[in-house]
Amino acid sequence: MSAASPASPWRGPLTLIAKRVGMAFVTLVLVSAVIFTISGLLPGDAAQEVLGQGATPEQIAALRHEMGLDRPALLRYLEWLKGIASGDPGDSLVANMPVADIISERLPNTLVLAGLTTLFAVPIAFLIGIWSAVTRGRSADRALNLMTLAMVALPEFLVATIAVLVFSVKLLWLPSITIVPQDPTLGEFLRAYAMPVLVLGVGVIAQLGRMIRAAIIAELDRPYVEMARLKGVSPRRLIFRHVLPNAVGPIVNAMALSLSYLFGGAIIVETIFSYPGLASLMVNAVTSRDMPLLQACAMLFCATYLLLVLIADTVAILANPRLRQG
């Protein structure tokens, strides 16, 4: 029982994490293969999309040759894979720009939106989750439950549209599209982001709040909580000092999923608020058949997801002395 491992205390978690990183790379390669295969099934190609309605077959053929689309798909995939391995995702077929440049222009936007939404939603989700858990089964819990349910149950585009109509069009409080001025003041900055953050936040708060509630309730049923109560621990100290450290695992996991949704799944919000983020960039890449860009976006989303899950796992491991010490 009292087996203090003679090896370094970090060996356990490090091997665990190293294994996860290895699996993440396998997953990344699989994702690229899946995306490449599916994109091969898309009708039309970049040459046709660039030239549009009035193109002649000769023009298309010429452009196709120029873009290198006339070479075998497998060859293109392997070349792309080689490029990615050396850190170069290639050039966009459509924009005549390096994919890296296009993405680096959008990436900060997505990060800012996701970051702000996280800052806004996570504390509220915690508040709701904790409040709901400690009043389990009572009227406050029921009311919160109904509220989060309604928040989960409404389609995002409806929430967004209603919010715009109310806050932007009727009340003229907030802008209906998200345009951040150059060198904004804090007020301008927050005002610009208020609407998309609100709309994205609704879903995240509801989802995460419910997860937090469930995670806390699972802990509340454990004997050490009763023991803490019998020690005379106050409810606040019980939650923050005793329960939360043990509920960290499932909570960070839920947070990782929410964050990865914010990173790549904000397509509807990006569309409605005309916000140039990565999700609409990827949709753009699909519609223009810009394969290098599409691949890069998919890689980025996948890598982010895996990274977030990895971080969540690491946090869970570090929060759990048993796992931490191997």
Partner: protein
């Protein structure tokens, strides 16, 4: 099992659960009989006026083309409920099937499936569905399959963790020691004990599918017109939102009541289990 035990279970539900049950039953009934009680064919241009308000002839007014909103709602509910139900069934069959394979099969099967599912889950679901619809088209069957595939990984994750937990239990060990095959272990010993927690997952996934479907409709990738699911009804009538047209409010309320209803029922049912 039998009628009385069902009735007893119903009586045990809290109020919210009963409300949920009523909503769910209502929408199932609408999905079943809706098209037969619709006053007009869903595609007919019955009203000269577009976005008309409620009237004796058109209970829920008319839509952006002057079609009867009630009739379209009744047929839309069938698509939403039906498609989501079929998609969730497919997703759960595949996801849970894979999960059972991973749980009772050799380790490499588990590794392989887990990697594959990680791959699918790491692509944002709406974009994944969008690519698939762009690649394969959006007929009713394809749309159902695409949505189902999109939700396989989520179900797999949950079902796998359930199944892996159950496989270690003594009663499965006993069956194994008896010499039972893997199929028996999976289907007879493990699966029946996953049903309750899976039911909760199925319900949530159903809601997500309804929402994904309406999201896809928003992005113009939904059902083929003149068919429309509830989400498409909201989407195609958005221009009436500012004037508060029933044509958009009615389907929006329909979606909300369906998803909230399902959630309430599940919540009540799973909480009952915990007690």
């Amino acid at each position: 099992m039998n009628v009385t035990s069902i009735l007893r279970a119903v009586r045990r539900l809290p109020i919210s659960g009963k409300v949920g049950l009523v909503l769910v039953l209502f929408w199932i009934a609408i999905a079943a009989i809706g098209p037969f009680i619709a006053p007009y064919p869903p595609g007919s241009f019955a009203n000269e006026e577009v976005f008309a308000g409620s009237s004796g002839q058109f209970w829920l007014g008319s839509d952006f083309l002057g079609r009867d909103v009630l009739s379209r709602l009744l047929s839309g509910a069938r698509f939403t409920v039906g498609l989501s139900a079929v998609a969730v069934t497919i997703a759960v069959c595949i996801g849970t099937g894979f999960a059972l394979m991973a749980a009772v099969g050799p380790r490499w099967v588990d590794e392989l499936l887990s990697r594959a599912m990680d791959t699918l889950i790491s692509i944002p679901s709406k974009i994944f569905a969008l690519v698939l619809v762009a690649a394969f088209g959006s007929s009713l069957v394809l749309l159902t399959l695409i949505i189902a595939i999109t939700y396989v990984p989520g179900n797999f994750r949950i079902a796998r963790s359930l199944a892996v937990g159950l496989v270690r239990l003594d009663y499965v060990e006993v069956a194994r020691a008896r010499g039972e095959g893997r199929l028996h272990l999976a289907l007879v010993e493990v699966l029946p004990n996953m049903i309750k927690p899976l039911f909760a997952d199925i319900g949530l996934r159903f809601v997500f599918i309804v929402l994904l479907l309406s999201g896809l409709s928003f992005l113009g990738l939904g059902l083929q017109p003149p068919d429309a699911d509830l989400g498409s009804l909201v989407r195609e009538n958005t221009s009436g939102l500012a004037e508060g047209a029933l044509a958009i409010i009615a389907p929006a309320v329909a979606i909300a009541s369906l998803t909230v209803g399902v959630n309430l029922l599940i919540d009540a049912a799973t909480q009952g289990k915990a007690r």
